[in-house]
């Protein structure tokens, strides 16, 4: 299978604490890959390397390499701002910008220099449809995004990311604060999106990963314990740690 994102013996530490211990993983193109593991396992940190949001943390030391399409993204010649157009991120807590629904989604495209009203409109509509939110907000695009419900806000954040036209979408526990119905809508949207995007879903909810991901990776204390097809990981895990985690024995 075609590799989109890869890390090679990636080590990362905050000060003296090593958070990622030599992670080597290949994430396949146009799939949903689930990252699971108890808190402190390093899965969110790994994501923040891929979108280079790690740049905003202090005292970070990184060794090893991470690549997208075979090109290193830790190289000094990479412009993190351009990288973040290719790698979209949805965070655990939906944080709409304090402006209208329309302007939230147009934020990224406007930064790229898209200012034509019709183009923006198409982009906003398209992104909202892909995020399964269009029908609920199409009549009130001008109202404040802060007035949406939590579930709607999270889909707005997904739409906002899609409007960047990224190649990769990283979701860092996107459903942790959502009710089952909102969660189902996000999952439906993601299943539709994987034909066009490479998606990494970080989640503490193993059932969610089992439901929608094609590949699953289990992290524990900064190490990649197991990585295989979701079917394999969930039906016949190679490691007892993985099995214990999936069965809810710890977490």
């Amino acid at each position: 299978m075609d590799t989109k994102i890869a890390t090679d013996r990636l080590r990362l530490s905050f000060g003296k604490t090593e958070v990622l211990k030599s992670i080597t993983i290949k994430v396949h193109r146009n799939t949903i890959t689930g990252f699971m593991g108890p808190s402190g396992s390093g899965k969110s940190t790994l994501i923040s390397v891929i979108n280079r949001m790690i740049d905003f943390e202090n005292n970070v030391r990184i060794e090893g390499d991470a690549t997208i399409d075979g090109t290193s993204i830790l190289d000094g010649s990479i412009n993190p701002i351009e990288l973040r157009r290719r790698v979209g991120t949805v965070f655990a807590v939906p944080i709409p910008l304090p402006r209208s629904i329309f302007e939230n989604i147009a934020y990224g495209p406007r930064l790229k220099g898209t200012s034509d009203r019709t183009t923006l409109h198409h982009l906003v509509e398209d992104s909202l449809k892909k995020a399964f939110l269009w029908d609920e907000v199409k009549d009130r695009l001008g109202t404040s995004a802060l007035k949406l419900s939590g579930g709607q806000q999270q889909r707005l954040c997904l739409a906002r990311t899609l409007a960047l036209k990224p190649e990769i979408i990283l979701l860092d526990e996107p459903c942790s604060g959502l009710d089952p119905i909102s969660t189902a809508k996000i999952e439906d949207a993601l299943s539709e999106l994987k034909s066009e995007y490479t998606i990494i879903l970080v989640s503490n909810n193993t059932k969610q990963i089992a439901r929608i991901s094609d590949f699953s990776a289990f992290f524990y204390l900064g190490e990649l314990i197991e990585y295989d097809t979701t079917e394999k990981v969930f039906t016949a895990p190679a490691e007892t740690k993985t099995e214990d985690y999936i069965q809810g024995k710890f977490g």
């Binding site: 949001m53 973040r84 157009r85 965070f91 910008l97 304090p98 402006r99 934020y107 930064l111």
Partner: protein, 278 residues
């Protein structure tokens, strides 16, 4: 003996009420006295005509213009400068001895009595730079005077913008400056406006520093190099030199009304800004 918390509660509430009414009461009394003494002498002719006989007769038109010129120009100078400093301190520096030094300097500047600013302005702008008593010297002095307020309030406002908003902006491929421009500043506008309002109030109400730098000419200042007098200075001179108490109180009424107007206007802009960005 243990007092029933309900009574203590009631007592505290009563005490706080009295304090609140006391504050508002004093404000009302001051405004009432000014209006009572000045309102009979205030009319459109007073506002629109020129003073005669040192201000004993006629109106205060040049002082109104002088006040607006001084306040507006110093705000226009101090806001970008102060906001720039605040952005630099909050977004582009890490807490260090250097930023502590700047912040200490800013705080010290805020505590200096205005007469010292006046003296500095007189020595530096009026004499050394040969500006003479002029609108320009007044504006520059006033700018330095209100700068600390603008810096401090803007800094607080910028600091209060949640870090998450910035993170989201960065994740949507914004650069640092784009994030500051499109997310941080808009969210901080209410706080920044508070600083601007306080500064306008200070510029409009200042006398000591203005007399030393802008002078007290009764003519209409038509250029930056003209001397002029603000309403506050006009009031001070009329009252201090016993020229005309009626005209002095008339001026005070216009002064109070214009401050009220500025406040209403600022609140209007603030609410607009809040409505737009929330």
């Amino acid at each position: 003996m243990r007092i029933n918390p309900r009574y203590i509660n009631r007592l505290v509430r009563m005490g706080l009420n009295v304090q609140a009414y006391f504050t508002v009461g004093i404000l009302i009394i001051i405004v009432a006295i000014i209006f009572f003494k000045g309102f009979p002498h205030t009319n459109f002719a007073f506002i629109l005509s020129f003073p005669e006989d040192m201000g004993r007769e006629g109106g205060i038109f040049p002082s109104i213009v002088g006040t607006i010129q001084l306040a507006l120009l110093s705000i226009l100078l101090a806001t970008p400068l102060g906001l720039g400093t605040a952005i630099f301190l909050t977004e582009y520096t890490k807490e260090s001895l250097f930023t502590k030094f700047i912040r200490f300097g800013v705080e010290s500047l805020a505590g200096i009595p205005s007469i010292l600013y006046g003296l500095f302005g007189f020595i530096f702008f009026v004499i050394k730079l040969k500006m003479g008593w002029s609108l320009l010297a007044g504006v520059l002095t006033m700018t330095i005077m209100i700068l600390p307020t603008i810096i401090r309030t803007s800094e607080e406002a910028i600091r209060a913008v949640p870090r998450q908003l910035r993170i989201v902006s960065y994740s949507l491929s914004a650069s640092k400056w784009e994030t500051i421009k499109k997310v941080v500043i808009p969210a901080a506008i209410p706080g920044i406006l508070t600083g601007i309002m306080l500064s306008i109030g200070r510029a409009v109400g200042e006398t000591a520093a203005i007399i030393f730098t802008m002078g007290s000419s009764l003519r209409l200042p038509l250029s930056l190099m003209d001397s002029g007098r603000t309403m506050a200075v006009h009031f001070y001179i009329l009252a201090r030199e016993g020229i005309s108490m009626e005209k002095a109180y008339g001026t005070a009424v216009v002064l109070v009304l214009s401050i009220l107007l500025i406040n209403i206007l600022a609140y209007y802009i603030m609410n607009k800004a809040i409505a737009r960005y929330s």
